[in-house]
């Protein structure tokens, strides 16, 4: 069977797809920012010396890491308003679900980086009378942060791909715009292929950028 490709509907509506891409990046940027904050809080909670803090943090991290993001999208959009009385816009629900979900993954990256700092550093800090919070802020986190950069970036790329699920909440990101265009133009093949290429271009360029950063970090530590 010969399929006749026709990309004209794609070019005519490329502005719509670009708008979707901008929304995808907006949702990604917002969720990465908030996710990093949530992740740091969860990681510090999990590592806290009291069970009162470490247990809830561990439960949240493990729960969000072991359940599908799609369920959280639906939970925040349809479930949470019933509980709180505040209904969220598709963007707010998607951003909340993504931030907490990625926060759980970011937390594990933070935790891994923190516990990778040599024991002598902790002991030295304690020996000169630093408290847990002071030690974390002044000694451990600044050293751990550099090692965390590559895995944090990798996790952020995962997040960008996960934003596509916001289409199911009718948030106008790239996949949602594509779905609308596909039903309007009857050209799903061409449109979804273009969308795949757009995602690929953004993520592939980003991962090339990451490799360059990794390279520089490796050189600096070697010196």
């Amino acid at each position: 069977m010969q399929y006749v490709w026709d990309f004209r509907p794609v070019w005519l509506n490329f502005g719509v797809l670009l708008e979707g891409l901008v929304n995808t990046l907006k949702l990604s940027g917002f969720s990465i920012g908030l996710g990093l904050v949530i992740g740091l809080v969860l990681a510090l909670g999990r590592l806290a010396p009291t069970r009162f803090l470490s247990l809830p943090a561990t439960v949240i991290i493990e729960f969000y890491r072991n359940t599908p993001p799609l369920v959280h999208f639906f939970w925040y959009f349809y479930g949470l308003p019933i509980l709180t009385g505040i209904s969220l816009s598709p963007f707010a629900a998607a951003a909340a679900a993504l931030s907490v979900q990625s926060g759980a993954f970011f937390a594990e990256v933070f935790r891994g980086g923190i516990i990778s700092v040599e024991r002598g550093q902790w002991e030295a800090g304690r020996a000169i009378g630093m408290g847990h919070a002071q030690l974390m802020r002044r000694v451990i986190l600044p050293q751990a942060f550099r090692r965390m950069i590559p895995p944090l970036m990798e996790r952020s790329f995962e997040l960008v791909k996960t934003t596509s699920l916001a289409a199911t909440l009718t948030y106008g990101e790239l996949v949602y715009k594509a779905m609308v265009l596909a039903t309007q133009t009857y050209r799903p093949m061409e449109i979804y292929s273009t969308v795949a290429v757009m995602f690929f271009t953004v993520l592939f360029l980003a991962s090339l950028g990451m490799r360059a950063v990794e390279h520089r970090l490796a050189r600096r530590t070697a010196r």
């Binding site: 599908p68 959280h72 979804y192 592939f204």
Partner: protein
């Protein structure tokens, strides 16, 4: 916010969720078992020094790793019938998409695992006249496998979560049944809470196994 939860109605419809769960498990088993086997060959091609197989495998892996699964599933659902004239069911399209996606990730695990073996192992096998296939089956894979099991387990966890996306192309797995149930009962909060717990119970043992395997591997290596 004095909301009284009505979990009873959700549990009364447990058979609906159970039916979805069966399809979720079937999707997982088909995609994962297929991917574990096929990815060995993609991984070999990716690690190969020959130009053409290397190029094809690299393109395949990068393509699947740098696009969202949702786009891949939709693409297979629409693209296959248009390109081949064969109309797959939503389930077949989802299984195929998840299989190809997981294969791409597993291929990288195979490549790293195979490359982690000292070159002497390959050379020794060749020196006593083993064919490539014999060498793989008798020397390389048995040794590399132990190191790769934690990574494969993590991949299985990711795949189990990904199966929920099949609901968007109308595969009637757990997430799809949950959406149906939530609109029928007008109880989205309870439905999605219960479904999240079901997924957690299903997936968490996999993560625990990966932790345990990693720990065992580290203590053995030390």
């Amino acid at each position: 916010m004095n909301y009284s939860f009505q979990f009873g109605e959700i549990l009364a419809n447990g058979d609906l969720l159970l039916r979805g769960l069966k399809l979720t498990v079937l999707l997982f088993v088909l995609a994962f078992s297929g991917a574990l086997m096929c990815s060995l060959f993609i991984g070999l091609a990716r690690g190969s020094s020959r130009r053409l197989p290397n190029l094809i495998a690299t393109a395949y892996i990068e393509l699947f790793r740098n696009t969202p699964v949702l786009v891949q599933l939709i693409w297979f659902y629409y693209a296959l019938p248009a390109l081949s004239g064969w109309q797959p069911t939503a389930f077949t399209a989802a299984a195929l998409g998840l299989f190809l996606n997981t294969s791409a990730y597993c291929a990288e695990i195979w490549r790293a695992g195979l490359q982690s073996l000292p070159a002497g192992q390959w050379e020794a096998g060749r020196a006593i006249g083993m064919s490539e296939w014999q060498l793989l089956r008798r020397v390389v894979v048995p040794q590399a496998l132990a190191r790769m099991v934690p990574a494969f387990t993590n991949r299985g966890v990711e795949l189990a979560k990904m199966t929920s996306i099949a609901s968007t192309i109308t595969v009637q797995e757990l997430m799809y049944e949950a959406k149906m149930l939530s609109t029928q009962t007008f109880l989205p909060l309870e439905t999605f809470t219960v479904v999240a717990v079901i997924y957690f119970v299903l997936i968490y043992p996999g993560t625990l196994a990966a932790y345990a395997l990693e720990r065992r591997l580290n203590s053995k290596g030390a």
